[in-house]
Symmetry: C3
């Protein structure tokens, strides 16, 4: 066995076929250290994740890990198998959070290939995977679809039969998983930081989150390593000098987390992410960039069958070096505002007025 | 309800009146992650906070969180309500540490307005608040007075009646709260890192702490986010470009923590801060600055009514890019040495010679 | 007692004599925060340290702290006494890991001077110490020899009698300490991230670890402070401006940790470091440098007296700003490749094929 074969090179387009299931390596016990570092790296303030007492009051056994932290932990496990040779991370769909994750839980991840399509250039193709994370009791904590553009190992290899999965535009209210035991009747809005509850948000309403956050290379590297995400573009500044942007690129998930943390100012009671409907990284982000964000209320489900909480579908847009008082967006021509870096479509729970 | 109103703008001078009590948002369960990050961000080495075994030996149930970490956690909660529109943080007085804080405790904070005074320019005013932090058992862990200069929302609004609280120059020995169970008879000075105990320090003595610590932007941002302190000047490098200093300003509390950590070299047995008598941030600190520190023994209380520990009132001065062998200070003309960034007046416990 | 004497100046060459035992200060309770920060700072992915479940499966009571994290914690305690006045860290030998360290353990360290030799210039000398770390039950967790070049306080002081200890070239298989309870029969290579086990590695084989990692000043400072290592060259950017390299130097141990983390890609099943045979830091590393690494299989012990694991002696070489496809090394003339920063000789355990 040669030395070269000891080093993992990741999967190429030819290595994926519909139905292939990949059990990802590196199980991960998550701890209060992950929660603390997440706070230090993002500044998140959502009360359910910040205090055990607040979590008890809404029926949970303690403060769970932030939903997006769970997403990054699961996503991180999939990188060596799914996206080490990815040219681009094209999209997300149908993401749902299931059982909350608590300090001490151990997460593992698997992915199933659910679609494949070679590009007309013959050098790359698109791979669709449904990835899921499970805890030590084999309970599902998260599943989501993502699709990535992957290099072929050999441009001459024949194209596989195209399979494009049908993907939901958004996760319907009937498919959401709410945390077992959740009861928001005693949710304390004053302690959470805002009087605005589910009834106060109108479909179409836009909120400028005002605050800005400058990203340092040390910060996004620490976050991305915490998730054991190994994509080289985030870490290898020497090699990046010869690439397109000339520098390290911030992990898109860190941008999502910062946008979510910034959204606290205006959405403090959006206390739990329950679905990821979609997301595009419209421009790369680099160390030294300052992120801003605004959100739009896309939809509100009248009925989750309960009086304590309602769901809100949000779209949070992040920009770099451009405050969001003018709500920079993608135009009707499909061209994103040059400062726009993220368009994230997700569903949150908010307490309802008693 | 309009979108604009969803975003918190903080309180302006007109929003404060004497007697107003504010229950601050975002309860915070502190964990060993906070302690670990505090060590990583400051390099603190005081033995009581570093090792459970050392804490047991002085009668505590385990290593508590560093006093200044507790201060920052409580202070962080107050920022969105007290100092989001602050022009300047003018001073601290009468700060006392009560019940020690242990990993797993959940902290909440409240503030009461105890003084108010409009400035003659009619555009700003000074607000005095007594803030306190409590744990999940409603036990007080810290209280302190601070006063800030806050913008008026409308310069035309009438001035309130001036109330300036009487503040102690320092917290007297009879008002100090020592940790329940504390017994320093078995305090191990060798393990703590210095043979110098209470008896060895003389009033007026000055100590150059020698070591220097360069601050990176990633570090002060992580520290300040860990405390969920949201003051924008620490994070928004893009907006700061157009402001007075052209760059992000380091949270003054991080400067205090670094000065305290540097003071270990010369004050290793100043094992517990029991009071904050006062403090001024005499110059702003920026990423890239190197901090140095020196201390002066201001006072020693002969009697705490016990043979194991004595209290020492200290003044620790921090400078930037200027080692402290010459003890740079504020002159008789009231002008601070240009390199001086902090003048912190506090009271510590030290073990007494048996 | 004068103020000057309060500040620790560290030991000079004259302060060491063979047989002197130093009990180092600052006991340290290690927690999951240390493990989490180590992951965030290095990106380590070795499964035994990443997941409790994986550790249970190989007979351990939970995920221990990474071996190199334990090394840094013990090493950090020794710095104020051994190497504060060191000119150079010359080498390591005979390092062995004993009892694994778990979150909650409290570490203390002692060193015994085992050799001493004044240099011919009369201004410096070499001091050999055997340092060891113990846990709260007084069980040894690590011991190792290192030798450092230390300044004399007074060049005129007489040279001591030279004592140079006999040091092993490598730790023999019969002297290795394996973790109590270890049973790798159920070691899951898929979950660990590589199919390559002990049998697959050949003596003389070289592995390019491919990936690169850029080091930020904030990162190495946080790592080094986490270990409470106080060597000034890592932190004081202002003073370093006037020194040889003009900037802060990365703690060599952080370089070792990054090289070990990079080696995962090719050595994923080298799941436990059991010995440190030697190591040289052949060039300084600075913030902004990008590390790469390659390894060579130096030796394989056929017999540890058990069928589940075998030991492999490795040499991992790290470079800066130079990918390792060409295996840059020290030439026959004894001159290290200019990009080479580390040559680390250590012994690992790998699972054997059933």
């Amino acid at each position: 066995m040669s030395a070269a074969s000891k080093t993992a090179t990741g999967n190429f387009f030819e290595d994926f076929h519909v139905g292939r299931v990949i059990h990802h390596a590196t199980p991960r016990t998550v701890t209060s250290a992950d929660a603390g570092l997440y706070t230090a790296l993002t500044g998140s303030r959502f009360a359910v994740f910040s205090a055990d007492s607040f979590a008890y009051n809404v029926g949970l056994p303690g403060a769970p890990l932030d939903d997006m932290l769970v997403f990054h932990m699961v996503f991180g496990r999939t990188v060596p198998d799914i996206s080490l040779n990815a040219v681009a991370n094209l999209g997300y769909a149908g993401g749902r959070f299931h059982k909350p994750v608590y300090p001490g839980d151990t997460l593992t991840a698997t992915s199933e290939v659910i679609g494949i399509k070679e590009n007309s250039n013959g050098r790359t193709g698109v791979v669709y995977v449904r990835s899921e994370g499970r805890n030590q009791d084999n309970e599902r904590v998260l599943d989501y679809v993502r699709w990535v553009m992957v290099n072929k190992r050999d441009p001459a290899s024949p194209a596989p039969e195209t399979v494009v999965p049908e993907l939901p535009e958004a996760v319907g209210a009937d498919r959401l998983h709410l945390p077992p035991g959740l009861d928001a009747a005693r949710y304390d809005t004053a302690l959470a930081g805002s009087p605005h509850v589910w009834e106060d948000y109108a479909v179409g309403e836009r909120i400028d989150h005002v605050d800005g956050m400058t990203i340092e290379d040390a910060e996004h590297q620490m976050a991305t390593r915490l998730y054991q995400n190994t994509a080289r573009v985030h870490f290898d500044g020497h090699a990046q000098k010869d690439h397109r942007f000339g520098k390290r690129i911030v992990y898109g998930g860190h941008v999502i987390s910062l946008a979510r943390a910034l959204s606290f100012n205006g959405l403090a009671n959006a206390f739990k992410v329950v679905a990821i409907n979609g997301g595009q990284h419209t421009n790369p982000v680099f160390g030294g960039d300052t992120l801003y964000a605004w959100s739009e209320v896309v939809n509100k489900e009248e009925e989750l069958g309960r009086p304590d909480v309602g769901s809100v579908r949000l779209r949070t847009v992040a920009t770099k070096d451009h405050p969001c008082a003018d709500f920079p967006d993608t135009g009707d021509d499909g061209k994103a505002h040059p400062a726009k870096v993220l368009d994230f479509d997700y569903t949150v729970l908010m307490p309802r007025r008693a």
